[in-house]
Amino acid sequence: MIFKELIKIIIYGTLVVLFISVNALFLVWAERRVSARIQLRRGPIHVGWQGLLQTVADAVKLISKELVLPKEADRFLYILAPMLVFAPLLSAFLVLPLAQNVVIRDLNIGFLFIFSLTNITFIGIFIAGWSSNNKYALLGSMRAVAQNISYEIPLLLSTMGVVLLTGTLKMSELVPAQAKGWFLFTQPVAFLIFLCSSLAEANRAPFDIPEAESELVAGFHTEYSGMRFALFFLGEYTAIFISSAIAAALFLGGWQGPLLPGLVWFLIKTYGIIFIVMWIRWTFPRLRSDQLMALAWKVLIPLAMVNVFVTALVLELQKILA
């Protein structure tokens, strides 16, 4: 029994790591092509067919790069930080409903589990900034922590509307509940708040202030080189994938769709949202950190609360009328 479980863990673990790597390579390539398209360019086209091998070359190169350890850095924490950023994201794949009955573990607490674990990455980011002994990195990580704490609240509040409608946190029950209509249509405000907050959670433009290239050089990962830097990159793109996947499951009906198998529909919806995320990145200027905070506390949180309140009110009214 234990043996069987162990094999299962190994197989799933390998699959997930494989998927994460391939997914990140694909997303970086896609990002570069999408940005090029927006910017009147071609993007990578010469390495491999349509430049598909470009990110593979980048990855192999990053693996073979020297790992610099700054003299003044806090050695233990400096080495720990990239792992701490990357590892918790793996756990998120435990509960993602990839297709009907394809969930590794269908936990009762569902997506709450993902949010609580992925937040460990921010401790990793803070440790990265602190241990680098670099002021730009420290500024970046301070911004990251402030941003994360602020945006965690609207992110969770926006999902509460959906939870109120279904009465469950279980991913496998949230998706079938949308058979009649996606929650995008019944909870449009919640969807926008969720998208906005997840952009901020993933440090994406226009909320990319922790790594703001034109201000803080490279933000919290200024001092990281080679594979350690690649882990941050991998983490960033996996985080985007996860939050888009949750958005697809919560608001766009997850694996449901005609003709094609569930997994394909799920991926189509997820990558659709990722495309929108990229589109936003290459269109808007960056917000300033105080404006970012103001947006969270003065706009998104009140709006999310109103949304929860209205949803609850409508539900109660329906009950009374019925």
């Binding site: 940005s35 500024l139 201000e215 290459w282």
Partner: protein
């Protein structure tokens, strides 16, 4: 231009009078003579130009450089601060009462006064490893400021923004004194791109100075060509041919548009928007194509000559411009929709980096940054040169004097430049582009002339002793004074705003460091 010679101890009261009458310090430099150092102050007035030149003699009395002293006017004119430091390091004149008389452009450890005539060049074979060691001692100061440890009790610390930083537009270093992310004070430190233009031109022929003009402000090099041509024609009494005159104005205005485009792209890059940069460069390439047709160069133009231009424009030059104008006008409308009407852009730039009129006067700010403060000062209109008196164009101004209005002023300047171009493009007269005979040297005397570059007033002060090389050639570059003005804009903003303010005043480093 009036010229007065005042005694050393009177200069402060003269400067005070000038400031009270609304004059700003346009240019301030020195000339080394055998018996004295001559300090040359050029004051100018906003609006129609009324230049006045004041001179002060600092006797050498047989002393060595560094011992010659004269009163400072940096407490009256803030712009004099950097000018005086520059004169101090190049001529060895000590300004009594200057708050911070350190080297400005050269490394701290330098012991030379290069613009003195007694400086005969660095000894041949100066060892690089040795000088590297010396210069690393300089960076110790860099490190001590950095090393104000984060664990210490008070919460303020220093941050070196640059010299290698993605948004300092070259190699500028800004030493920021921060509390958290809030800026308490900021000091630009320059000289990382000092290329000894002025000394170099002293050992070159007058014709040999042309390439330097292309490499000072490489983004808007045509205005610099124009400036030198104006100076030479004023000195030699030449009149350029009408065809050359038309070509010159066309080139200068096209180059002004391309310079503003580059600024717009990089400014938006500083604000974190990547895509406008690519659009601006796309349009800029189209302009460069047109300029390249005539000049053969993409960037560091070396096209004008005394009394004309280097070579004639090809036949497809005018049609290419005519094709470009409507296309670009459409693009400008797109930019307006995408950038100015974007709420994030508005929130980031409105009320940011305010330059008051008093500061603009005290720092001698010119160009679009000054016009954004509501002062319609433009030498193309106020001190008309070349064809500008016959052309119909506006001088756009704005009143808020923040980063947003600086954007808006430059944006509308592009439209005005297009207007000028479309007025001229059909009317290029036939004829020669060069004069048959031009003198090789400037007549003995001193000359000052200024023109409007893409960044502000570009002034040149030249002393000729009648030989084949300039005796002294000083360049008053607009960014030098404009950059100094950020000292008063920085306190109170956050780190994100520092790069936005730096971007909004539009600097080109080699033009500042010369």
């Amino acid at each position: 231009m009036t010229e007065t010679l005042v005694a050393q101890d009177e200069i402060q009261s003269v400067a005070r009078q000038c400031l009270a009458q609304g004059y700003f310090l346009e240019s301030f430099t020195a000339v080394d003579f055998a018996e004295c150092i001559e300090l040359v102050y050029h004051f100018n007035h906003w609006g129609p130009c009324q230049r006045s030149c004041v001179k002060v003699l600092v006797p050498k009395n047989g002393g060595s450089p560094g011992a010659w002293s004269t009163p400072s006017i940096s407490s009256i004119y803030k712009s004099a601060n950097w000018f005086e430091r520059e004169i101090h390091e190049f001529f060895g004149v000590t300004f009594a009462g200057h708050p911070n008389l350190k080297r400005l452009l050269l490394p701290e450890s330098s012991e030379i006064f290069p613009l003195l005539k007694s400086f005969k060049g660095e000894p041949k074979g100066a060892d690089v490893t040795q000088s590297l060691k010396l210069m690393q001692e300089d960076t110790r100061e860099f490190k001590t400021q950095e090393a104000v440890s984060l664990t210490q009790k008070n919460k303020d610390y220093y941050l070196n923004l640059g010299p290698q930083h993605p948004s300092t537009h070259g190699v500028l270093r800004v030493l920021l004194h921060l509390a958290g992310e809030r800026v308490l004070a900021g000091e630009p430190i320059i000289g990382y791109s000092h290329r000894h233009h002025e000394k170099m031109m002293e050992i070159q022929t007058y014709l040999g100075c042309w390439p330097n003009m292309g490499r000072l402000d490489y983004v808007g090099a045509m205005s610099y060509n124009m400036g030198y041509a104006l100076l030479a024609e004023k000195a030699m009494g030449l009149v350029p041919t009408p065809r050359a005159e038309h070509i010159r104005v066309l080139m200068t205005e096209l180059n002004r548009v391309s310079s503003h485009l580059l600024w717009m792209g990089t400014f938006l890059l500083d604000l974190g928007a990547f895509t406008p940069f690519f659009y601006c460069f796309d349009d800029r390439e189209k302009i460069l194509d047109i300029l390249e047709m005539a000049t053969g160069e993409r960037l560091t133009y070396d096209y004008f000559r005394f009394g004309g231009v280097d070579r004639d424009i090809p036949a497809e030059f005018a049609p290419a411009i005519k094709d470009f104008i409507p296309e670009f006008k459409k693009r400008l409308r797109d930019y307006d929709k995408l950038i100015r009407q974007n709420i994030i852009f508005e929130k980031r730039t409105k009320g940011l980096g305010i330059l008051t009129k008093e500061n603009a006067l005290a720092y001698g700010v010119t160009g679009p940054s000054l016009r954004a403060a509501g002062v319609a000062q433009d030498l193309r209109r106020d001190e008309p040169y070349s064809l500008y008196p016959t052309l119909d164009f506006q001088v756009p101004t704005s009143t808020d004097s923040d980063a947003y209005s600086r954007y808006w002023v430059r944006f509308r300047e592009m439209e005005e430049s297009l207007k000028i171009i479309s007025q001229l493009v059909d009317k290029i007269p036939a004829g020669e582009t060069k004069l048959a005979r031009i003198p090789k040297n400037f007549p003995k005397g001193e000359y000052y002339s200024a023109c409007e570059s893409a960044r502000g007033t570009f002034g040149m002060y030249l002393v000729s002793d009648g030989t084949l090389n300039p005796y002294r050639f000083h360049l008053r570059t607009p960014s030098f004074s404009n950059l100094n003005a950020i000292v008063d804009m920085l306190p109170g903003c956050v780190v994100s705003d520092v790069v936005a303010i730096l971007g909004s005043i539009d600097i080109v480093l080699p033009e500042i460091d010369r």
